[in-house]
């Protein structure tokens, strides 16, 4: 990739960065599906709103049941973040809220006396139809944060 020389990055100041992303959209299909044509439904807003409190409870259940007794270990927590995010996505999908796209974000970290951490997020969306649910969990050796964003698909 032009201009992405790691040695150059190091010289440019004292910061390094790496980028990671999922596959480019539309490139990973061997038989690319034709773009789906959607018909008008003449629906201006969501029929069924996203139940924030229910999802908060789901987050609380899942995080507590998976992490209550665990200690922070690198390998375990790596698997755990992936598993928990899939589990939460599946449970929110079970609620069958139509026309909502979901993004689930999980962070698990180690507690230490000096650990300072700040998580912030901002969204550019339509606040009348889009929303989020969030829960933070802590036990003696680790903390976990779960965020679910729900975006209405017109």
């Amino acid at each position: 990739m032009p201009g992405f020389d790691p040695a150059l990055e190091l010289q440019r100041g004292s910061s390094i960065s790496t980028v990671s992303y999922i596959d480019e959209p539309g490139q990973h299909d061997e038989n690319p599906r034709p773009a789906v044509q959607m018909e008008n439904t003449y629906q201006l807003g969501p029929v069924k709103r996203f139940p924030v409190l229910t999802v908060n409870n789901i987050l609380k259940d899942v995080l507590t049941s998976y992490l209550q007794e665990e200690k922070y270990e690198a390998e375990l927590c790596r698997q755990m973040t992936k598993t928990i995010s899939e589990v939460i996505k599946a449970r929110v999908k079970e609620l069958m809220i139509p026309r909502y796209k979901l993004i689930v974000l999980i962070g698990i970290g180690q507690l230490s006396e000096q650990n300072n951490l700040r998580i912030a997020s901002r969204c550019l969306w339509d606040p009348s139809s889009d929303t989020f649910a969030s829960y933070a969990f802590k036990n003696s050796s680790l903390f976990a944060v779960a965020n679910v964003y729900a975006v209405y698909f017109e």
């Binding site: 910061s15 922070y72 992936k82 993004i103 998580i119």
Partner: protein
């Protein structure tokens, strides 16, 4: 108009470099940093003028040996939506910024 990862990652990198740059970690400034990074990213993304809804998340952490794992899973349409995560560090700080873009 699809989600172009390279543009987005450049925007994020610029935002973090200008906000934190090579400053050492200071607890008092963390709040301001996260807000500034996220606001800058979002305003630059809005300037792109593409028909997307964006979600920008930023995690700032001090480097002192503690571990952190982050994962995300998304239920969306692969052809129109995408995400980009940038992991940035300097001598004393880690910063992870994720941008999710959902096509309208």
């Amino acid at each position: 108009t699809a989600f172009v990862v390279e543009d987005i990652s450049n925007i994020i990198k610029e935002a973090v470099d200008t906000t934190i740059g090579s400053s050492p970690f200071q607890t008092a400034r963390v709040n301001a940093w996260t807000s500034a990074v996220v606001e800058t990213c979002l305003s630059q993304l809005a300037k792109l003028g593409k028909p997307f809804k964006y979600i920008v998340t930023c995690i700032v952490m001090q480097k002192n040996g503690a571990g952190l794992h982050a994962a995300s899973s998304c239920f969306w349409d692969n052809t129109t939506d995408g995400s980009c995560t940038l992991r940035w560090e300097n001598k004393t700080t880690y910063c992870i910024v994720s941008v999710f873009g959902l096509g309208l």
